[in-house]
């Protein structure tokens, strides 16, 4: 069952096309992440779902109710859609409790208890209730903003880069807390971000936007492994892309023959491997890997990214340069001779 349906949404600002024929279904209870570089139109799309913007054409339905179509538009205040912007946007003239209680219809002790419960749910200490927004840290402001949006029991929760103002450690902790909280509350969530790591980790459904168009959507793992095009591949993580000749389930490329998921396609095409699919071993004579030389080592603690150059088995000349991920403990130093082998299948881009 889909909670939210976006059907052919279009929006232009002057000559600039902000949204170009956007179609997307968001299943009930899911966490959908819209990811894209800045200026891709993802914030416009989110604001349109919230009801702060209206499309030039197209329609939008939530749980079967039409929110916007060509003749009709439900204003933001009747949508019951929670919205948490990047900077929290707390009302500066209200205390934490007043901010959280803003959307509540309750009064008296029932109201106080609900506010207390909401503060508890976002792990805010009860004695913060009477603080002012300017006395809170960025993370605390974000929690208040989230509690405020949750208070009205939204049918849908929209998060606009809510973690980008937080520091790294806090960011992943907040992300996990928010994900768990929304899942427990059973709230369908849409998050917008430009951070692919955040997107892959938070999403059950990922939608990639570029230049106002929704270029691909699906399960994050599928998008990561089987992107439709090279740009998406690079946007979602480091990628090794090279030309190959495909023949009966094998790609013949600089790495030698590599298995592919080509569905019977044969001919010339671009293939993609993720760096973690390439495995390194020491250069042992008679091994079946592809010989290479380590040229650069980027140590990052638990992992290490190596740049290697392939050595043609025939001429011994240095060839294509590739990224390989390796455990930080056993990373060979630059200059080492290594063997490369491929785990799993390479992905073939459709020939355009």
């Amino acid at each position: 069952m889909n909670a939210l349906e976006l059907i052919s949404l279009n929006k232009s600002f002057g000559a600039q096309k902000a949204l170009d024929d956007i179609c997307l279904s968001v299943p009930t209870g899911s966490r959908t992440v819209i990811v894209g570089p800045s200026g891709s139109g993802k914030t416009t799309l989110l604001r349109m779902i919230a009801g702060f913007e209206f499309p030039d054409a197209g329609s939008l339905t939530l749980n079967g109710q039409v929110l916007v179509d060509s003749t009709h538009a439900v204003p933001a205040y009747q949508r019951q859609i929670g919205y948490v912007p990047q900077d929290g946007a707390l009302f500066p003239h209200m205390t934490v409790a007043a901010n959280i209680g803003f959307g509540l219809a309750l009064t008296g002790t029932a109201r106080e208890e609900r506010i207390k419960a909401l503060m508890d749910s976002v792990s805010l200490d009860a004695n913060m209730a009477n603080r002012w927004p300017h006395e809170l840290s960025g993370g605390q402001q974000q929690r208040v903003s989230l509690a405020r949006a949750l208070a009205q029991q939204p049918r849908l929760m929209l998060l606009d880069e809510p973690f980008s103002a937080l520091d790294t450690g806090l960011r992943s902790a907040m992300r996990k807390m928010v994900a768990r909280l929304l899942e427990d509350a059973g709230v369908t969530t849409i998050l917008v971000t430009h951070d692919q790591g955040e997107a892959l980790s938070f999403a059950d459904q990922l939608a990639v936007m570029r230049g106002g168009r929704l270029v691909q959507s699906g399960h994050p793992m599928d998008l990561y492994r089987y992107p439709d095009d090279e740009q998406t591949a690079h946007f979602l993580g480091e990628a090794v892309v090279m030309p190959a000749r495909i023949e009966s389930g094998l790609a013949h490329c600089d790495l030698g023959p590599v298995p592919v998921n080509s569905n019977g396609f044969s001919g010339n095409a671009q293939i993609m491997l993720r760096p973690e699919q390439l495995q390194l071993s020491g250069a042992v004579a008679g091994n079946h890997g592809c010989p290479a030389v380590v040229t650069e080592r980027d140590f990052a603690g638990n992992t290490c990214t190596l740049t290697v150059e392939l050595r043609s088995p025939v001429s011994q000349d240095l060839g294509r340069s590739l990224l390989v991920r390796s455990s930080g403990m056993h990373a060979p130093p630059p200059g080492s001779d290594v063997q490369l082998s491929v785990l799993g299948a390479a992905h073939v881009f459709a020939v355009s």
């Binding site: 702060f52 209206f54 538009a73 204003p75 990047q86 009302f91 003239h93 927004p133 949006a149 009205q152």
Partner: protein, 532 residues
Amino acid sequence: MLPETLPAQVAAASSASLRLKPRALTGRGGSWVVALAVGVSLLSLLPIAFVLGVSWATGWATIEALVFRPRVAELLINTVLLVLITLPLCILLGTALAWLTERTNLPGRRLWSLLAVAPLAVPAFVHSYAWVSLIPSIHGLPAGVLVSVIAYFPFLYLPVAATLRRLDPAIEDVAESLGLKPWAVFFRVVLPQLRLAICGGALLVGLHLLAEYGLYAMIRFDTFTTAIFDQFKSTFNGPAANMLAGVLALCCLAMLTVESAARGKARYARVGSGSAREQRTVLLSRGTVMLGLGLQGLTCLLALGVPLLTLGRWLIAGGVEVWGGGELLPALLQTLSFGVAGALLTSLAAIPIAWLSIRAPGKLQRLLEGCNYITSSLPGIVVALALVTVTIHFARPIYQTTLTVLLAYLLMFLPRALVSLRAGFAQAPVELENIAQSLGRSPLRALWLITLRLAAPGAAAGAALVFLAITNELTATLLLAPNGTRTLATGFWAMTSEIDYAAAAPYALLMVLLSLPLTALLYHQSRRTAGR
């Protein structure tokens, strides 16, 4: 995200006014705001329409004879010199005092900041009265500039101080981290952010200079407005006064154009995250402290000491008998009721235009604001004259009623409410209104609960300014008030016209006392930043 959201807001706002029904209802703001703003502005066009209509009726030959003559050139030079000398002095003084009281460790800065607002409690023509009775020979341009600066600099001090208090301190931190010295931070980062406040304040002062009658009449300095008044007194409703008013209207148009160019297109809603932190304080050296104290002390002596000493002298000289006669109390009550009603009416009328100017700046909104500025920059006597003519011809039942007086106040003092309200609205990011809507509040409720609350200090400042203006208003009240009503200002003017300075003193004292609590409130409100 900025490039995405900025055009989005503009587009949404314009679509709200142009699109089909559902969009107009749901798009930010909605067409009713536009309708209200247009309504208020059309009303404010009344005096202009009157001037144009009268010019049309007069004919070109007569206009030429009345406008192109040495007397008009002389008045023009007087008025332009007054503006060109007074405005920079007011900006310098207002900004310097605001910086000293808001951003330095000057001893007693709370008190100084109160004292910098206090001169507003003394009506301009009472300042003039004080100086004339202190130095009877004082007259002409130098006297005009002196009294004008003293009477009007708080109009710059107030918005500049309020803005200084609300700037995002992080921006200054960043500037300093980019290697700017403290003075460079002030000139390159702080001052540009004060532009809106300085432009607004300067326009307000400039319009006063063009419209004030009592101040200049008393020190015998001829400006357009005094000349129009004299002309009117000698030839009731004659073409000469109307043609001078036409030239004056052109001057106001020029001033409006300059201000609008200086203000630019920048919008000043804070874009940073969360809520702002405390402002930081500059530690002054001993020498600078002395200099600062000297400036504050001298300003205080001239702007408060002189009027209070003179008033005290006349009150002692007049003794108990000037308080008798039974005319004082009714005048006080009359002034109070005019002031409260006028301030409420004007503030309410200003809300739609102020809101449009921040949330949907565009050609329409500038046109509307322009209408209001031009009207309010016309001298009170022209507004009054227009209302007299129009009510006699088209609305006889409201001729010489309180309603007409309040209408004149609305037309004359709308920009006071507008400037403060606009600055207030600029402090309330549109995103907060959006959030309130996403939490189930209708656009109107969101406006009330969030934007108007955040703009409340600005709105209160605006209402207080209007109240002050009404308690001190002279010319329009003289002309429009129903027969037999006497306010403090018209009572004071009647006494001074008879050179009975001692009998005028109680009226002046009451006007000052009446303005004091509001000046204090204004001071208090402007000190409060949101949430503190």
